[in-house]
Structure formats: C-alpha cells, structure tokens
Amino acid sequence: MAYSDKVIDHAENPRNVGTLDKEDPTVGTGLVGAPACGDVMRLQIKVSDDGVIQDAKFKTFGCGSAIASSSLATEWIKGKKVEEAEAIKNSDIVNELNLPPVKIHCSVLAEDAIKSAIADYRAKQAAKR
C-alpha cells in the first residue's frame, strides 16, 4: 500500500511524542485501542485555567497511519479551546492525511483518544470542586 506524503511525514517525524504527568489535575489522559487489535493510542492534554489546551503529547503502538493520525491530532488541538478540540471529527483527519478506507479506523481511534483525554480532564476538574 502506498502512503500519502503527509502520513510518511508524520510517521517519520512525529510531533509531540511524550508523556505528561497523569497525576496532574490539569492533565487529561486518554488511552484507547487494544494491543490485540494492533493499535493503542495514548493522548494527553494539559489545560490552562481559561480552558485552552496548552500542551498535548501522544504515544502510539500501531501502524504508520495510526502514528500519523495521533501526531496530527496533537498538532491540531494544541492552542485550541477544549470545546474546539472536542469538535474535531475523524473525517477531518481522513481528509488531511488522505487515509485509504482500510485505515479509517486509525482516524476513529484518534478522535476517540481526544474525546477520552477531554473526558478524563473534566472528571478530574469535577472531582476537585
């Protein structure tokens, strides 16, 4: 299968690989997928007091398209308000990366990872109050 240039670029030079402190109340962590399915994404966000995503990090076990989808996701959500990040659709990722049909699940996983990280952040915030 031929990869699009954008997938290759993200897979070879992934943005925002890393780990944020998951105990930090301003950090939300999303862990989605399963090793047995061949892809696991962990996406983390650090949110400022005014609800802006200051930092985003990811680590992904998965194919090049999965790595590219999560790399792109972190790039997109950085600097966005939480609500804006929440509105990102997997189809946006598919279009940007030119993913073929068999790789659409990678973009779905990236969308889930964003949503899951936001949910975790909100749960932490709610627990604080």
Binding site: G33, C37, K59, T60, G62, C63, S116
Partner: protein
Amino acid sequence: MAIKLPIFMDYHSTTPVDPRVIEEMLPYFNEKFGNAASRSHAFGWTAEEAVDYSRERIGKLINAQSEKEIVFTSGATESNNVAIKGVAEFYKDKGNHIITSVIEHKAVLDTCKRLEKEGYEVTYLGVGKDGRVDPDDVKKALTDKTILVSIMLANNEIGTVQPIEEIGKLTRERGVLLHSDAVQGVGKVPFDVQKMNVDLASITAHKMYGPKGVGGLYVRRSKPRVRLVAQMDGGGHERGMRSGTLNVPGIVGFGKAADIMMKEGKEEGVRLLGMRERLRKKLDSSLEEVFVNGSLEHRLPGNLNVSFAFVEGEAMMMAIKDVAVSSGSACTSASLEPSYVLRALGVGDELAHSSIRFGLGRYTTEEEIDFVSDLVIDKVKHLRNMSPLYEMYKDGIDLKSVQWVAH
C-alpha cells in the same frame, strides 16, 4: 563496500532468476520456440526434448523414480489444487476424508474448504508452539474413510519444517496417500519422496531462483500408482493430468534452477544458516523482549520470523523502508486479522501484530545482514520510545491486567 538499497530480504515471497537460468532459457523464446506437443517436426521434438530434460533434473532433486512423475503446471497454487481436488475426485468411492494442518498455505486450505462444501470431510490439525504437526495427531485422525493427508514441507511464514518422514510412515502403513506442499523447502532442506513416502508434491520455480509462472506436481507412478482427475480439460497434455501448451522456456529455466539447487543447495543452506544466526544473535543481544516464532531447530536456514514486542509490524516495515521484509500484522492485510499461522502457534494477537519475517537467500551478503540488524535495532528502539505499551511495560504494568477499550 557500499550497500545498495533497497535490500531484498523477502526470499519467501519470490526470488530473482539466477543469471545461469536466464541464459539457458533464452534460446527457447525464439530460436527453439516449438510446441512440445508437436510430434511431427523437429521444432516440436527439440522443445519436447528440453522439457523432458527438465523433468529429469527436477525429478532428481526430489529423488523421483522416473521423470514421467513430474507434471508441469502454472505454479504451486495450481499444483495444490490439482493434487487435492484431483485425488479427492478420483478416490471418492474409497473415502471422503482428508487430513491437513491449520498452517497450510491458502492454496491448500481454501481448496479443502471447497471440498467440504462438496461433501468431503476435512480434519485441520493444530500445531504445537514450535509450529510443527505432531505425527501422533495424524495417526489419531486417520480413519477408514481417509484418502489423503496433505502437510507442507516448510511453512512460508515461520519456516518450520514438518516431520514428513514420520507422517509418511503412517500414511504408507494405512494405505493413505500423502501430499506435501514442498514449495518453500525443496532444495533448501532434505526432501526425498522415496525415503519420506510422499506420493504427491507441489513445487514451483520462482522460489528457487527460476522464473515465475511455472510449477510442478510430483505424482508417484508406482507403489502406489497415484491416479487423479484432471482439473483442466483440453488437449490431454501431461499424460492427461494437465491440459495446456507447455511453457517451454519457463520449464527449461525450472530445470536449470533445480539442477543448481541439486548441486549447490546444501552449501547454500550452510551459508544462509550462518547469516540467519548472525542476524538473530545481533537482534537478541541488543534488544529486550524479542521472540522467535516457531522452532529454531526445525527451520528453513534462510528464515527468521521474530516479534518485537510493543512495536507494530507495519510501522516497523515503514521505518525500515529500505529493507524489503514481510509482517504478520493485520495492517498488512485487507482483513485486519493478524496472521493465522502465528495465531495457530498460540503466539497471541499482540505479538502477531509485532512480527517481522526476514527471508534470506542466494544473494544476501554479510554486509547486508550487518546493515539490516543495526537499522532494525535502531528503529525498534525509536518506535518503542513512542509506544505507550513499552512505557507501561517499563513501569512494571502487566499489560494483560489492563482493561482495553477495543474498537
């Protein structure tokens, strides 16, 4: 010496044609272009002579008693189809039971599945963790209705070599025919149809440095004489077993390729085993959590199938894109299912997704082995640094205890 990229380490998929083979084939495209079935003129006789010489050379490689036991086909898929369907159809009054293994090539498995739809019964034997069929399981599965056992010589993914000789003893005793898909193993590991009591064997030229599009089926002619119903109707070529004008240049190339294997295969195997072990030891000593899939002892010398835990196979192949290898990861297939062969070993889906198959062959060099092992070590480390699973492993988390959200 500078390394030429890309590097081919996928010799189980196919092999380049040996220049000595090409040289021998060339005259048969134009100068000696006759149809081997033309019995009435010199053009035909020349072609027929060349074809029969190839039969002899191929027969010798597997120790056939007569060159007449070699039937030419378009490749091993056709050979497997003819062998299994042809025998099933001919012996249907004798029985309707076939025994095979779960790790056979799809050309065998899907042929058996079709026969099941037609009312035949098929037993699919499992394999051990080492990737081998237990002859005892064959013995237990044999019934009065069994007409054929089909077990491959060597597996295309994990390179494990099956105990054909032991299985052959059992089938001969019970008067059941034994077919072996010998494509990956012939010329590379011992294969002797007399000693092993093999009655039918599928082989192909392009896995042994011959051209694509030409294969062969060994069909025993005595003790017992194997009969089969042709699956291709037409002019009655190949003693009625496979109609169709013979691919004379291809067959000439096949014969030469077999001749080279006969003379050089053993020595080549020793060289490949040395390089395979060099690669394995380098990877094993520099990386943690590397698992060889299948038996190391009973294995093709040029095969190394390993799983690099916490790294997905397709991402790995992309990271080493200057090296042509293969993976059992689901992402390499349209089905999104990981390799059925690795699953049969009980490898576990996560490690199946992490598998890489290195296939070494005639033109692999030590320099390439060193280059590839350094590259692979570097990229595995790189990908592990971005793998959440590796981080969890390093933090002492048991990955099996995690509640994963499958999608």
